[in-house]
């Protein structure tokens, strides 16, 4: 209701403005030709508010023009055919323009409605996708926990069983043991305890990585020192590793303890999946901004489809020993240090590639 009043007032104002303009111009231009100026009021009204207001403005224009500007002045005489014709043109213009405008308005509204519907649909889909993703993440973390518990109970229990059995045998007064037997049992306890320690260490590494708490302490290192530390941790098996390390490479900037873990895990994996007694090759090769370290074994290798799965926790190859955490941890630490780790196609056997970033800073101390 209120809008109706406002619009009528606006229409009257438009009429008044155009009439005023005609009053000002009529000294310079033949007054009858100025009637066309009323279209300037009619067209905007038709576009904005539709044919009812526009036709009213058209009729109003005609009357005002007739009353104020067409002789005899100040009377309504529509005797002249030209006035009828002008009125007709005004009314047709009003109707046609308002029809066109309302059609385009309708189209715009339809488009907007379609857009709104589309937006709502998209939002809905995003929400659903988000929920699905969350559910998937939960399911995966649940699956991970289940796998973790299964792996932990297996990997912790089997050495514990061996330790308990050996200790019982040693402590039992009823058993008659030779000195060699005692040594063997003690050796079993030692070995299995070392294995337990390794599992615990891997679980700690994994939980540090999962919690994002593996903030690397990066320093400059030469690759031979990092490899040396990894080899030192491998014990007698280190003898099976053949090295091909360029002596004049630039230092890399990494956390030595974490990269040592990466290298040790890669070498352990390679040693485990290659025939007993065979050699594993560690080769380093400088690139433009990074050092590439290849660890190549003479095992069966893996088809392409299975290569990425190597780096998922709790996946292990056919040989099936080890906790299946080593390569997942290796990739985690490699990435935390700005490096990458992937399995490469190689007909000769298993082939893993580790990259480590070269140091950006230069040594400030002279030799």
């Amino acid at each position: 209701m209120k809008t109706g009043v406002v619009r009528a007032a606006a229409c009257a104002a438009a009429l008044a403005v155009v009439s005023g303009a005609i009053e000002l111009l009529k000294g310079h231009v033949p007054v009858l030709s100025l009637a066309v100026l009323y279209l300037l009021a009619i067209i905007p009204v038709a576009i904005a508010w539709g044919s009812v207001y526009a036709v009213a403005v058209a009729v109003g224009s005609m009357l005002v023009f007739n009353f104020f500007f067409v002789p005899p002045l100040y009377t309504f005489t529509i005797a002249d055919n030209r006035n009828w014709f002008a009125l007709l043109v005004f009314v047709i213009t009003a109707v046609v323009v308002s029809e066109l405008a309302s059609r385009s308005r309708r189209r715009a509204e339809e488009a907007e409605a379609a857009l709104r519907a589309l937006r709502k649909l998209t939002e809905e889909r995003e929400r659903l996708a988000g929920e699905a993703l969350e559910a998937e993440a939960l399911r995966r973390s649940d699956a991970l926990k289940t796998a973790l518990l299964r792996a932990v109970s297996h990997d912790l229990r089997s050495p514990l069983t061996a330790i308990l059995a050996s200790a019982d045998a040693l402590a039992s007064p009823g058993l008659r043991l030779e000195a060699d037997d005692r040594r063997g049992l003690a050796e079993t306890i030692r070995c299995e305890a070392t294995r337990l320690d390794r599992v615990v260490e891997q679980l700690l590494d994994l939980s540090r990585l999962e919690a994002g708490a593996a903030e690397p302490h990066r320093e400059l290192w030469h690759v031979d020192e990092l490899v040396g530390q990894a080899l030192a941790g491998l014990g007698a098996e280190a003898g099976r590793v053949r090295l091909d390390i360029g002596s004049e490479t630039l230092p890399v900037e990494v956390d030595a303890a974490q990269v040592e873990r990466v290298l040790a895990n890669l070498l352990e994996n390679a040693l485990r999946y290659s025939p007993p007694g065979s050699q594993v090759l560690l080769r380093s090769e400088p690139g433009a901004t990074e050092l590439r370290i290849h660890v190549i074994d003479s095992g069966a290798g893996l088809p392409e489809a299975q290569r990425e799965a190597l780096f998922q926790p709790f996946r292990r190859g056919a040989a099936g020993h080890g906790s299946g955490l080593g390569l997942a941890i290796a990739r985690g630490f490699a990435e935390a240090n700005g490096g990458r780790l992937w399995a490469q196609d190689d007909p000769g056997g298993g082939h893993l590639v580790l990259t480590l970033p070269f140091a950006e800073r230069r040594l400030a101390v002279n030799a």
Binding site: L220, W221, D224, E225, L243, V365
Partner: protein, 225 residues
Amino acid sequence: MSARVLVVDDEAQILRALRTSLRGAGYDVETAETAEGALAALAANPPDAVVLDLVLPDGSGTAVCRELRTWSSAPVIVLSVVGDEAEKVAALDAGADDYVTKPFGVDELLARLRAALRRADAPAEPVVEVGELRIDLEKRAVSVGGEPVQLTPHEFALLRVLARDPGKLLTHTMLLREVWGRGYGDESHYLHVYVSQLRRKLEPDPARPRFILTEPGAGYRLASP
């Protein structure tokens, strides 16, 4: 007379295992379970060596070590755990001689203990020989298998600090301060790179070093002669 060793740890089972093993190896063993107990035992009857856990119920092994160093030079071997490297290095910087990481083998602990006790008695030698490596500290001459090796002044300074006390673990901070001076305590990356250079000149296989050994996260030592 056999050497006397004070063992400090708050875990009864570990204490028992160490007491048995050390006695079996011919040492006189005393034990303490707290920092306060350790300091009392140290003052009452100074031992020849100390095996010291870093985490004690009433304080840190590092504090005990620092206190001990104000009046005694008896070798101290600390027991550390994985993940507590900072505390281990703090203890070494506070004067501990060596460390083993829990869980450790008794053989390893005994070897460290023997070496530390031997070093405590040994006079400083002007010529140090480790396998094929020969370092003449007075003449500043280094050779491997009889072949002289040319070292830069910094490389020789680094080797000299290690050779003054063969077998002794020197932390990054100690080495940096001795070789480069006081301002360089934290710049351990210089050290890693110079050690690598030194190894390439001395070691037949730098990735499997025999002369200059790395203690990950702690420092370096020259292998025992």
